[in-house]
Symmetry: C2
Subunit: 262 residues, 2 copies
């Protein structure tokens, strides 16, 4: 199947612009699974929860969700995209999974990074896998990469592909995602953004790009630099269902759960 990431440069607060740019791109890719960055529709650096609530949207009926579903219907693609998700009086750093038949699933970021802990409510959605037919899809967001339990939870539930919307500013994640793929024998699609934001004075953030597609053997099929671009890769998701790395080691069955302290 053809998978893709779209590496964007959103303008903070310009939801319509950011969403329409992404939708236009999705329509040109011809991919069956597309991953967009974390908070792709709003930008990253909220000054307050109130601001995030104001720009945030419902995961099923907000502008971003509706337009992504329309793009999915039009192209036949499954799409994972990060949004500021308003739910009642709360706002989460979430991502949605939508497809040609509409809304499929929601993931609310479990491990909030730094100032996000002030802005967003902590995620309350257990790591979960969605079987969309062409692949079993898991979702995690940005900083979740640092916690091996995130990708492990998805792999143990049968994820073929981990979709990983991100707004990375630190350098280590692209290499670490190779470890995540090797240790779980899964594919991972990290969609990061580029550009910079300094909406909070003295707290300038520069996003590292480096969006990538990595395979179960740790192969980096594609990795971007620091400009706006997309990457597409043809992958065979069934490779992620064979957890054997040699005739004697299945990396899931070889686990020694009785010896761990977790």
């Amino acid at each position: 199947m053809k998978v893709a990431y779209i590496q964007t440069r959103p303008k903070f607060g310009e939801v319509e612009r950011n969403v329409e740019n992404a939708v236009s791109k999705i329509e040109t890719l011809g991919a069956e699974l597309v991953v967009l960055p974390e908070l792709f529709s709003t930008g990253y650096q909220f000054k307050s929860t109130a601001e995030a609530l104001e720009l945030g949207e419902n995961a099923r009926s907000g502008y971003a969700a509706v337009r992504l579903i329309e793009a999915a219907v039009k192209t036949g693609a499954f799409i994972v995209a990060g949004i500021a998700e308003r739910s009642g009086a709360s706002v989460y750093n979430s991502c949605v999974l939508v497809g040609p038949k509409g809304f499929i699933g929601l993931y609310r970021k479990a491990h909030l990074f730094s100032n996000e802990t002030v802005i967003f409510k902590k995620g309350n959605t257990p790591f979960k896998v969605f079987d969309v037919g062409v692949a079993k899809v898991g979702m995690m967001i940005c900083f979740d990469w640092l916690f091996p339990e995130a990708a492990r939870s998805l792999a143990l539930q049968g994820a073929d592909v981990i979709c990983h919307p991100s707004n990375l500013v630190l350098p280590h994640c692209p290499a670490a995602m190779i470890t995540r793929c090797l240790e779980n024998r899964v594919f991972a699609i990290t969609a990061n953004r580029v550009g910079a934001e300094e909406r909070i004075k003295g707290a300038a953030l520069t996003f590292i790009g480096s969006s990538q597609v990595v395979g179960p053997n740790g192969t980096v099929f594609k990795r971007s630099g620091r400009r706006v671009e997309s990457g597409t890769v043809d992958i065979d998701v069934t490779l992620a269902r064979n957890k054997k790395i040699n005739s004697r080691n299945d990396i899931i069955k070889s686990r020694r759960t009785g010896l761990y302290t977790l």
Copy 2:
């Protein structure tokens, strides 16, 4: 504290030679913690369990253990070294921790790699941390690197330094150990061997060297190439006791155990 790895090129079956070479080296290093490779005293590629039993030794009273303890007494160092451990009718791929006061601890490899599953008995020692005063020491062996639960179990029990005797033949571990250090904010000392063995025809193994010392921020303080050599690094183990990566994220306390499926 000064820590070290010794990257060796053992000759298969020449236990006395291999041990004496290592002991001589330990005596020159002036390190407080020294890590030797997996199966440093025997070599790696056993043809049968019978052969491993024959070359294997008791973890406390065997030739390797006795000489390592003598070296520890003489130098004041703590030493972690991989041995073929004979215990009754069983043989384990183990490592010992010894110090100036003698034998301290034993770890039997939990995740046996490939043909090791035929030769050795599966380890039955839970991942455990030994507080030796100058540091809290955890042990894992080679292929354990692929299982995030190994290093995680040690970190959650308070390990400052993960001692990692290895006989690596595949390329991914040195980079993956950076991930292990980052995700757990620990130091890791991987001591690998160099050279090649082909005692089983058609199953030639070339060991990759690349022994290294990595810190809690993912810094590679030292990494060797593919020749016999040692590496020493001065580390501040207390850095591993601060799990905060910023004012809002303690990477242990930030775990969301209720959302994982492990």
